[in-house]
Symmetry: C2
Subunit: 171 residues, 2 copies
């Protein structure tokens, strides 16, 4: 903003650098997302939105977090997909504004649906493949393997039934 105008167009100038508090909150979320195997930038984005009383635009995230537009765009895509972030309509602004979803149950449900379920599903196929291999295999040593594949099947069934239950335990 080279030209100085008497009245800023933005409602709030939004301090360019993060406050101690914001940094500390973001830090919590960065650890959390890394724990569940998501990139740091996603924790930063969610953390800043979580700390913000007003919904923020992609530009604001780029500016305040010093991350690239590409990262912000990709990060928001993931956060939207798991329902961790909600687009908020703001009158007279073409840009998308985002707010953090703070209902733990929703966050966990979204994560399970988008990140965990797909793996369980591909697990079904792999399990089928294993059973097919077992059928062809040398009958001699198949006894032990049969028991192990059966065990895998038990795990799979159990996981499929427990994961959805997890959501119910929250909130």
């Amino acid at each position: 903003m080279p030209t100085a105008h008497p009245s800023s167009p933005e409602p709030l100038p939004a301090p360019p650098q993060l406050s101690t508090m914001e940094t500390a909150v973001i830090d919590v979320f960065v650890s959390a997302v890394k724990l569940i195997g998501l990139p740091k930038s996603i924790g930063e984005i969610y953390g800043l939105l979580f700390s913000s009383p007003l919904p923020l635009t992609l530009d604001a995230l780029v500016l305040r977090l010093s991350i690239s537009k590409g990262s912000a765009s990709q990060g928001l895509k993931v956060l939207r997909s798991v329902g961790a972030v909600r687009p908020v309509y703001v009158a007279g602004d073409r840009r998308d504004h985002y707010a953090a979803e703070t209902e733990l149950k929703k966050l966990v449900a979204g994560f399970i649906r988008e990140e965990l379920q797909p793996h369980l599903d591909s697990g079904s196929e792999r399990l089928a493949h294993l059973r097919q291999l077992l059928a062809c295999s040398h009958p001699d040593d198949s006894g032990f393997l049969a028991s192990r594949i059966s065990k895998l099947g038990q795990w799979h069934t159990r996981s499929k039934s427990v994961l959805p239950l997890l959501t119910g335990l929250l909130d």
Copy 2:
């Protein structure tokens, strides 16, 4: 094995390269451990042990999986720590032999204890830090932040109570 002897010293020669079945089983575990954020080699080791009717030594893992002794050692260390692998005494062999633990409940409990709990614990400290920052902060804008930090506290409490419960749902 350049020299051919009439009788092998090992009980079973253990085919140097993996069978189709073993590869498929290992593949399942490699995906699984990557999902929970552990290195591939750990999935390979556990997968081979899971497929093996007999406990295996570190050397056997190195040979059959074509991984380095260092990887095998470190991988076994993690697997031991979460209780995914059990040392088995074998008479007349100084080497450690390992068998896969196949009780899902134990595996999950071990993972929670070793990998998840520590993060929840450090979370307590960070939360305390946040509350301390809040106390110092500008009273004006502290209203919103106070509510968010309170929300974080709720999440934390909830997680601490739910994680242990999870174990109970299995088996």
